[in-house]
C-alpha cells in the first residue's frame, strides 16, 4: 500500500546511495504508519472492550496497545533506521489528495527518531501511571492512545499540511483530558490551553500555506520540496516569525508561557507526564525542523533572539519556580526553565550545542515525566499541593523520599545523569560557537550559569519543605502517608534507567542523531555565510541586539 519512495533525504548525500540499495528496505514493513495508526485504531476499539466501568480491564488493554506501539517504534529503530545516515529514512509515501498536493508522507531522521521513541516510551509509562483512574476510564484511555498516535504523527510526518493536522488533532485529547479529569480550575486551564495553542497554530497554517504557494507552480507541502525552494530572505523572516510564535507557545518561550502553569497545575499525573514529557518537545522539534531546516537564513538572523529568550527562560522561570508555593506549578515553571537550554542550543550554530539541545529535550522528557509522576503520587497521599501544608513526610515515606531526591538531583543537572550532559553540551557548544562575538557569549554564558545556582535553590528547598524536618501534625492527622508501592517504583525506575544511562555514556543517544544534526549545522553555516554574519563576530560586538532590529521590525507585520 505504500510505495517506498526513493530516498529523498534533505541532504541527498552520497551516503544513502552508497549503501547497496534495499539492504535496509528489503522488508517493506510500514513501521511508522503502523506506529501512528495502530494506537489510534486500537483506541477506536475501546468501546468494545468488556469493562465493568471501573477501568480494570480497559487499562490492561491500553497498556498492551501502548507497549505494542513502543515495540513497533523500537523495531523501526533497530530494523529500519541507520544512525549514520543524515537523511530521511523509513520513508512511506502515498498520494492522498494529489490536487491539493497532499500526500501521506512519513519518515524519520535523526531529529525525529529519538522523539518518536520517547513518545511511545512515555505514553506506555503514562498508561501505567493512570492505573488508579476510575472516572470514565474508557474515555480516558481512548484519549491517551489517540494522543499517542497523534504525537508520533507530529514527529514522523513529512508534509506540512499533515503536520498541521496532527498538531491540531493532538490538541483535542489534551483539552478533554484537562477539562474532564483536571483539578478545580480545570475549565479555565483547558480553555486557556486551547485558545493559546489553537490560536498560535493558525500561524503554522499561514506560514505553511505561504511556503507551499511560494514561487508559483503546483503547491506542495512536503518538507523536501519546501527545503529545496530558494526563499527570499524577507519572506523567510516573515515565516520564521510566524512559526516562532506558534512553536514558542508550545515550548514555551517566556512571554508566551502562561498557559503552561495553569494546564500543568490542573492536569492529573499521567496527563502531566505527557504534557511535560512530549508536548513541550513538539515545540523544540518543530523549531529545528522548520525554523532551522527550512528557513536557515532567517534563522541566522533570529538566532541571537532565540539565545536571549533562552536565557530569559532559564532565569525568569527559575525565579518564579522558587517563589511558587504550589508543588505542581513549581515543577511546571522548572520545565520552562529547562527548556531555555533547548533554545540556546538551537541558536548556538554549533554541532555540539544543537546536539545538546536535542539531548536536553530527551532528557527533560524523561526527568520532567518522572517529577510530575512523583507529584501525582505524592498528591494521592497528602491531598494537598501547597508546600506550606506539607513537611516532614519523609519519615513515613522513605522510598518516596529517595525517589524524589534522585529525580530532583537529575533535574538540577547532577553529573552522572542526562540533564548534566545536555546542559554541558549546550554550554560548551555555545561558548565555543564562532557565530557570536566574544562579549555576547560571555554575557549569555554567565547568565545561563546563574541558572546553575538557581535550580538547586528551588529544587532543594522544595525537597526541604516536603520531606525534611518535623512531621506536620495537621497533615499526618488527616491523611494516610503510605510509602511508594511497587508500581510507582517501577515507573520511576523505567525512567531512571535511561536518565542514568545517558548520564554515564551519552553517546548511547547522541550517536543516534549525530549525523542529522551535523548535516543541519552545515546548512546553518552556509546560511550564515549567505547572510554575511559569519564568521565575523564584529557585527555582534555592539552587543546582543546588533542584528535584531530588522527581525523585530518585520515580526509585527505578520503578527
Amino acid at each position: 500500500m505504500c510505495d517506498n519512495a526513493h530516498a529523498v533525504g534533505v541532504v541527498e548525500a552520497g551516503i544513502s546511495t552508497l549503501r547497496p540499495d534495499g539492504q535496509h528496505r528489503s522488508v517493506p514493513f510500514p513501521w511508522l504508519s503502523t506506529a501512528i495508526l495502530f494506537p489510534i485504531g486500537a483506541a477506536l476499539l475501546i468501546p468494545f472492550v468488556p469493562d465493568k466501568g471501573d477501568g480494570k480491564q480497559v487499562r490492561w488493554y491500553a497498556l498492551g496497545v501502548a507497549l505494542t506501539t513502543f515495540l513497533v517504534t523500537v523495531g523501526a529503530y533497530l530494523r529500519g533506521y541507520d544512525p549514520a545516515d543524515p537523511g530521511l529514512q523509513l520513508v512511506e509515501r502515498v498520494q492522498w489528495l494529489p490536487d491539493l498536493g497532499l500526500a501521506w508522507s512519513v519518515g524519520a531522521d535523526g531529529i525525529s527518531m529519538p522523539l518518536i521513541l520517547l513518545t511511545s516510551f512515555i505514553t506506555s509509562l503514562a498508561c501505567l501511571a493512570a492505573w488508579p483512574v476510575t472516572f470514565k476510564p474508557k474515555l480516558f484511555y481512548f484519549l491517551l492512545l489517540a494522543m499517542d498516535g497523534g504525537q508520533i504523527a507530529v514527529f514522523a510526518v513529512q508534509d506540512m499540511l499533515l503536520f498541521f493536522l496532527a498538531w491540531e488533532l493532538e490538541l483535542l485529547p489534551v483539552y478533554l483530558l484537562l477539562a474532564i479529569w483536571g483539578g478545580k480550575k480545570r475549565q479555565y486551564a483547558a480553555t486557556k490551553f486551547i485558545l493559546y495553542t489553537a490560536g498560535s497554530s493558525l500561524f503554522i497554517l499561514l506560514a505553511g500555506l505561504a511556503m507551499a504557494f511560494y514561487g508559483g507552480g503546483a503547491p506542495s507541502f512536503e518538507y523536501t520540496v519546501l527545503a529545496a525552494k530558494e526563499f527570499g530572505t524577507g519572506f523567510q523572516v516573515l515565516c520564521y516569525a510566524a512559526l516562532l510564535i506558534a512553536f514558542g507557545v508550545k515550548l514555551p518561550v517566556v512571554p508566551l508561557h502562561t498557559w503552561l502553569p495553569d494546564a500543568h497545575g490542573e492536569a492529573t499525573a499521567p496527563v502531566h507526564m505527557l504534557l511535560a514529557g512530549i508536548l513541550l518537545k513538539m515545540g523544540g522539534y518543530a523549531l529545528l525542523r522548520f525554523n532551522v531546516q527550512l528557513l536557515p537564513e532567517a534563522h541566522a538572523q533570529f538566532a541571537p533572539l532565540l539565545v536571549i529568550l533562552g536565557v530569559v527562560n532559564i532565569i525568569y522561570a527559575a525565579l518564579t519556580s522558587f517563589a511558587q508555593r504550589n508543588l505542581k506549578r513549581k515543577i511546571a515553571y522548572s520545565s520552562i526553565s529547562h527548556m531555555g537550554f533547548v533554545l540556546i542550543g538551537i541558536g548556538s550554530f554549533s554541532a555540539l550545542g544543537t546536539s545538546g539541545a536535542m539531548l536536553q529535550m530527551i532528557s527533560h522528557g524523561l526527568i520532567g515525566a518522572s517529577l510530575f509522576f512523583l507529584v501525582g503520587a505524592t498528591y494521592d497521599r497528602t491531598h494537598t499541593l501547597q508546600l506550606d501544608e506539607m513537611g516532614g513526610i519523609g519519615q513515613k515515606m522513605r522510598k518516596m523520599f529517595a525517589l524524589w531526591t534522585v529525580c530532583s538531583l537529575a533535574s538540577l543537572a547532577l553529573p552522572g545523569m542526562s540533564g548534566f550532559v545536555s546542559e554541558l553540551m549546550v554550554f560548551v557548544g555555545f561558548a565555543t560557537s564562532e557565530a557570536y562575538s566574544l562579549s555576547f557569549r560571555i554575557v549569555i554564558s554567565v547568565l545561563a550559569a546563574i541558572g546553575v545556582i538557581l535550580t538547586p535553590i528551588y529544587l532543594l528547598s522544595m525537597l526541604r519543605e516536603i520531606f525534611f524536618g518535623k512531621e506536620n501534625p495537621e497533615l499526618v492527622s488527616h491523611s494516610q502517608l503510605v510509602d511508594a508501592e511497587p508500581r510507582e517504583i517501577y515507573v520511576i525506575s523505567c525512567l531512571l534507567v535511561p536518565i542514568i544511562g545517558i548520564g554515564l555514556y551519552p553517546r548511547l543517544v547522541t550517536d543516534s542523531y549525530r549525523a542529522a544534526i551535523e548535516a543541519l549545522v552545515d546548512r546553518e553555516a552556509i546560511a550564515l555565510v549567505k547572510v554575511g554574519r559569519a564568521p565575523v563576530p564584529a557585527v555582534m560586538a555592539a552587543g546582543a541586539f546588533g542584528t535584531l532590529p530588522p527581525a523585530l521590525l518585520h515580526a509585527p507585520a505578520l503578527g
Binding site: 504557494f213 508561557h257 522558587f322 519523609g394 553529573p415 560548551v428 557548544g429 561558548a431 526541604r464
Partner: protein, 670 residues
Amino acid sequence: MPSASELAWLIPVLPLLGACLTGLGLITFNRTVNRLRKPVALLLITSVGMAAVLSFAILAEQLAGAGGTEVLFDWAGAGSFHLQMGFRVDALGAVMLSLVTTIALLVMVYSDGYMVHDKGYVRFFTYLALFSSSMLGLVISPNLLEIYVFWELVGMCSYLLVGFWYDRDAAANAAQKAFVVNRVGDFGLLLGILGLFWATGSFGFEEIGERLSAAVAGGGLPTGVAVLLCLLVFMGPMAKSAQFPLHVWLPDAMEGPTPISALIHAATMVAAGVFLVARLQPVYEPFPQVQLVIAVIGTITLFLGATIALTQMDLKKGLAYSTVSQLGYMMLAMGCGAPVAGMFHLVTHAFFKAMLFLGSGSVIHAMEEVVGHEPVLAQDMRLMGGLRKHMPITSATFLVGCIAISGIPPLAGFWSKDEILGQAFNSFPLLWAMGFLTAGMTAFYMFRLYFLTFEGPFRGLDAGLRAQLLSAAGQATPESTEDGHHGHASHPHESGWQMAAPLVVLAVPSVLIGLLGTPWNSRFGHLVDPVEAAEVAEHFSWGEFLPLAGASVAISSLGIGLAVLAYALHRIDLGTAVAGRFPAINRFLANKWYLDAINEKIFVQGSRRLARQVLDVDSKVVDGVVNLTGLLTLGSGEGLKYFETGRVQFYALIVFGGVIGLVLLFSAFG
C-alpha cells in the same frame, strides 16, 4: 598481568558497585535489606578495602619509579568536538588514593560502632560507599571536565550525608546550604572551565597550562582575561575547600553524623579544592596575580577560622573552624607556589584531623548516653569535662591530635605547617606574619578544646545548665529532664573497639608521618615532585630552618601555655580578662564575623524577595495581559455576532481571500 595502574579504574568502580547493590536493595526490599546490617557493612567495607589494596599497590609502583598512566575514551561529542573521559594515575594521585581509601576504611569501621543504634545504618553505609567512589573518581580524573563531574558528585554525597538525620531542621538547612554554596563555587568553576576550553581547546591540565601561557605570550589573549579565567576556576576550590567568603557552609555541615565530619568535612572532600589547585599548578604558575589572590584568600581564611574557633562552645564546631583555618594554610602554600608543601599539609592534616573528629564523635557518643540524643547538649563542652578518666583511649589520641595540629615537633603537623610558613616567609612576609600568629592561636584553641572536654570535673549532670543551653538554642526543655536525665548512664563510657581501634590506628601516622617530609630529605617531595624536592634539599640550611622553626614552636608553646593557665589551672579568667574588656571583639567572633547574618540578609532574603516579585509580575502582568486579551476577544465576539449571516460560503470566501492576500503579500516581500 596488568599493572595496578592499569586497573586504577576499578578503585572507584568497586565501592560504586557495592553502593548500587545495597541502594537498589533498599528501594526494592527495604525491610529485608535494613535487617542485613552486618552483611551490608561487610560487603561495603570489603569493596573499599579492595580499593585500598589497589591504591597501595599503585603507590608502591609509584615509589618504585613507575611513570604516570593515562587512559582516555570518547565520552560525548558532535562535529569536531570530543569530550573525553578516562583515568590517570601519577604520584600525586597515588598519594591521594591511598589517603582517601585508608581514611574511608577506618571511618567505615568506626561507623559500625557509632551508628549502631541508628535505624538508617544501611543507608548510611550506602552513602559512605557512594562518597568513597565519587571521591576516588575525582582523584583519578585526567581532565577538568571529569573533575567537575566528580566534584558535583561528592557535593551530592555531602548533601545526602549532612542531611542524613533529615527530621532535624538544623541538618536539613545545613545540607541545603552546603549544596547551594558549593553550587555558587561551581558556577565559577564551570564558567572557568568553559573559558579555558574556549581559550585553549583542551580540558587537560598540562595542555591548558602550556597553551594558555603560549596564547598570552603570543598576544592572542590578554593577560587580564587569562587571570580572570584562572580565578573563575579557583571559585570551585574556594567553595569546596571552605575558603573565605564561601566557607560558611562547612561549620553548619557539622550537623551530619560525626564519622562524616571526619571523612568528608575534614580529611577528604574539603581537601579536594586544594588537590585541584595542586593539579592546576601548570595553569596558575605563570600568573603571579593569581598566585597572590590565592595566597591572600588562604591567609584570610586561616586567620578567620582560628579567630572564630577561639570562642566556640560546640566541640564539633570548634574543630570545624579549625579545619577552615588549616585549609587556609594549604591554600596559602598553593599561593606561595609550593604545592608540595600544601599537599603534605593536606596529608598530615587528613590523618590528625580525622582522628580528632573521630575522637569528638567518640565523646559525643559517650555524652549521648548521659544527656540523650540532643546535639545541643551532647556536643556542648560546657557539659563535658573530666572525660579522661572515663575514656582513656579517646583522650590520649585526642591529645596526640592536639599536639600534632599545634605544631610541636616531631609530630606530623610541625613539619608540614613549618614548611608552609617557611615558603610564605620567602614569598610574602606579611602573610607569613598572619600565619605565624595564627599558629599560636591554633595551639591555644586546640588545647582549650582538650582541657574543657577531658580535664576538670564532669558537668554533664547539671540539670540547670542543660535547661539553660536548651533555652538558649530556642528549644523547649524536654519533660524527661525532670527526672534528672533521659540518658541511661550517670557517667560516659569508653567506646567499643570499632570506634577505639581507628583512633589508635590514626594516631600512628599523626605522630610519625611528618618524618617523611623533613625539609632536608623529603621523601614525600621526592615522590610528588622530585625536581623541586631536590632543589629544596640543596638549598636547605640549618641556619635558615632553625630560627623559623624555633619561632613557630615558641608561639605554639605560648598558645598552649595560655590554654593551660586559663583552662587547666584556672589562673586567668579569660571571660573577664578579654571578653569582658573587649565586648565588641568578643561579639564579633561569637557571631562568626557576622558573615552568616550578612549572608542571610542579602542572599537568602534577597533572592526570596526577588523571586516573589518576579512571580508577581508573572501572574499579574504577563498573565494579566493574556486574560485581558481573552476578555476583549469575548467582548468583540459579542459584537461580531450582529454581523453573523450564518452562511458558510461567506466565511470560506473570507478565509480564502485572506490566504490569497497573504500569499500576495509574501511574494511581494520575497
